[in-house]
């Protein structure tokens, strides 16, 4: 039972690739653009193009393809539910029916479309978090959101919260794994039983996990205080984000995709 094996989000893989070397701001902005664009794509050809683009990204990032695909299993449930609901609930020209279940042509289309969009969204976001160190990621987010501070949006605080959350996902997973093992050594069984039984069997895992999470939060707050942290005002950075022509190439690639999508 190794939980950390299964979840990709927040798991940065430091490799040396073209995608890794791009400026975090640019990557975030492009991911935002792609996430919007995917909702305007409604043809098979368009979707194919988008996924080909994602595949190109994965290849360029040097992340092993199967490792990437396995990470997608996390949302398999969501994608399947979406697909099934749309498949049966969308009304239209009936192509198949059995008792009260009917499938329409529109249902098939929409269900394919929706699940592909979800997969694509999750795919590009995973690619972003896999290739961008959490620090660069939040730095980038803060910069991308900066214009909103003019209307009072707490960009720095949000970025900080995000850093901390991302930073602690793997830690908490490891912790959960350790506690699970420790309770299994005491004969605990986390597998069988109905829902109530299952919920009850999680108590020995969740209580220590929360206790340690609160401890960590406390320690972190103290550590930040001790280093005179006082919010984002007037803070400068040790590592400034820099863009170079590579980032321009990335932007052009995405623009190219957008143009192509217009054509097909």
């Amino acid at each position: 039972m190794e939980l950390s094996k299964q979840i990709l989000i927040g798991q940065y893989i430091p490799l040396d690739s073209w995608i890794h070397s791009l400026d975090a701001r640019v990557k975030i902005a492009l991911v935002l653009v792609l996430s919007v664009i995917i909702f305007f794509v409604d043809t098979g050809k368009g979707l194919g193009l988008c996924f080909a683009f994602l595949l190109l990204g994965v290849l360029l990032s040097r992340i092993p393809f199967f490792y990437f695909v396995r990470g997608m299993r996390v949302i398999a449930f969501l994608v399947l539910t979406t697909a099934l609901l749309n498949l049966f609930l969308v009304k239209g020209e009936t192509v198949w029916s059995w008792q009260f279940l009917t499938i329409s042509k529109e249902g098939v289309q929409i269900s394919l479309l929706m699940s592909s969009r979800l997969l694509f969204l999750f795919g590009v976001t995973s690619l972003l978090t896999l290739t961008t160190s959490p620090i660069a990621l939040t730095d980038g987010t803060e910069r991308v959101l900066f214009p909103l501070t003019l209307v009072g949006f707490p960009a720095h605080e949000l970025a900080l919260m995000m850093t901390i959350a991302l930073r602690f996902v793997p830690t908490l997973l490891l912790e959960a794994e350790k506690i699970t093992k420790a309770q299994m050594a005491r004969g605990a069984d986390f597998a069988p039983g109905g829902l109530a039984q299952k919920a009850k069997s999680l108590v020995p895992l969740l209580v220590p996990l929360f206790v340690s999470a609160f401890h960590r939060a406390d320690e972190l707050a103290t550590a930040m205080e001790a280093r005179c942290y006082r919010g984002g005002k007037n803070r400068t950075r040790m590592k400034e984000l820099r863009s170079d022509y590579n980032d321009l190439v990335a932007v052009l690639l995405v623009l190219g995709l957008v143009c192509l999508l217009q054509v097909v």
Partner: protein
């Protein structure tokens, strides 16, 4: 008897960065033996001991307990957990119940002991770690001091009546008295109940005078194994794994270098003092060291 045969373990074998934590470790533990496991941080000690009660499965190799392969399909896991108690590193982090009694009873309850047997088991286990049942059983584990929590956690394992007790750095972060108390209680347990003990530690000093055999792990491999006296003589190898011989041994070695006829395999300060006294007497009145 526990036989570990060619045990290897790789964490996240098919990720971009697999971590080979153990390779080809083999050793045997006889019933009633007291074994010390030493190695630098990250050398694979925790990984090793977690294989012995099947919390981890080997990537290759086998673990045999009383002649049976515990990883064989269909082998009852609970049997392993009943026979072999594993006290984790910082076990106080896994306390979760509202009272000390409930927490110590968690293990036995999972093993199927009935409600009427529990008070006996719990009070015996608490007294083995030196906590009074009457004073502690109804307190919240979270209101205890660090050392008390640690002892409650150890009691939680002892209450399951294991025949083999594995402890992963049971004395880490305790004060010298708390450390001594735990080590002393372990020795008594071993004598009184005939337990087999495997103990992981960073402190050679606390293992040397107690254990029958030491296993030295380096980067996932078994570097040395032998009686404390054999091991302590190989100070160069120990240095190689980032372990220094205790200061009293270093003292004896220096004396030997200077040509004094001393044994250098003392296992405790007391033995060192005895050895020094002997040498000083032998030298006669004028003999200055």
């Amino acid at each position: 008897m526990i036989i570990v045969k060619d045990l290897s373990h790789t964490y996240q074998p098919d990720s971009p960065r697999p971590c080979r934590a153990l390779h080809n470790v083999s050793f045997t533990v006889e019933n009633g033996e007291y074994i010390g496991i030493v190695g630098r941080s990250g050398s694979g000690k925790t990984t090793l001991v977690q294989h012995i009660n099947r919390l981890l499965r080997p990537t290759s190799g086998a673990v045999l307990v009383d002649g049976q392969d515990i990883n064989a399909p269909g082998f009852p896991v609970k049997e392993v957990r009943r026979k072999i108690g594993l006290v984790f590193q910082y076990p106080e982090h896994q306390l979760f119940e509202e009272t000390v009694f409930e927490d110590v009873a968690f293990g036995p309850r999972n093993l199927g002991y009935s409600g009427s047997e529990l008070p006996g088991l719990v009070s015996e286990a608490l007294s083995l770690v030196g906590l009074s049942f009457d004073r502690y059983h109804s307190r919240s584990p979270f209101s205890l001091s660090g050392g008390e929590k640690r002892r409650v956690a150890i009691a939680g394992i002892l209450a399951m009546k294991p025949r083999v007790l594995i402890l992963d750095e049971p004395t880490a972060g305790l004060d010298p008295q708390g450390r001594e108390a735990i080590l002393h209680r372990l020795e008594r347990l071993r004598v009184e109940q005939g337990l087999t003990i495997l103990m992981v530690s960073h402190y050679l000093e606390e293992l040397l005078p107690r254990v029958d055999r030491l296993l030295i792990i380096k980067e996932g491999s078994l570097l040395l194994s032998g009686t404390p006296r054999d091991i302590i003589k190989q100070s160069r190898e120990l240095h190689g794994v980032g372990m220094e011989v205790p200061q009293f041994v270093a003292l004896l070695q220096r004396l030997e270098e200077k040509g004094h006829p001393v044994r250098t395999d003392a296992l405790s300060v007391r033995e060192t003092v005895e050895e020094l006294m002997k040498v000083m007497k032998g030298k006669g009145k004028g003999g200055a060291i």
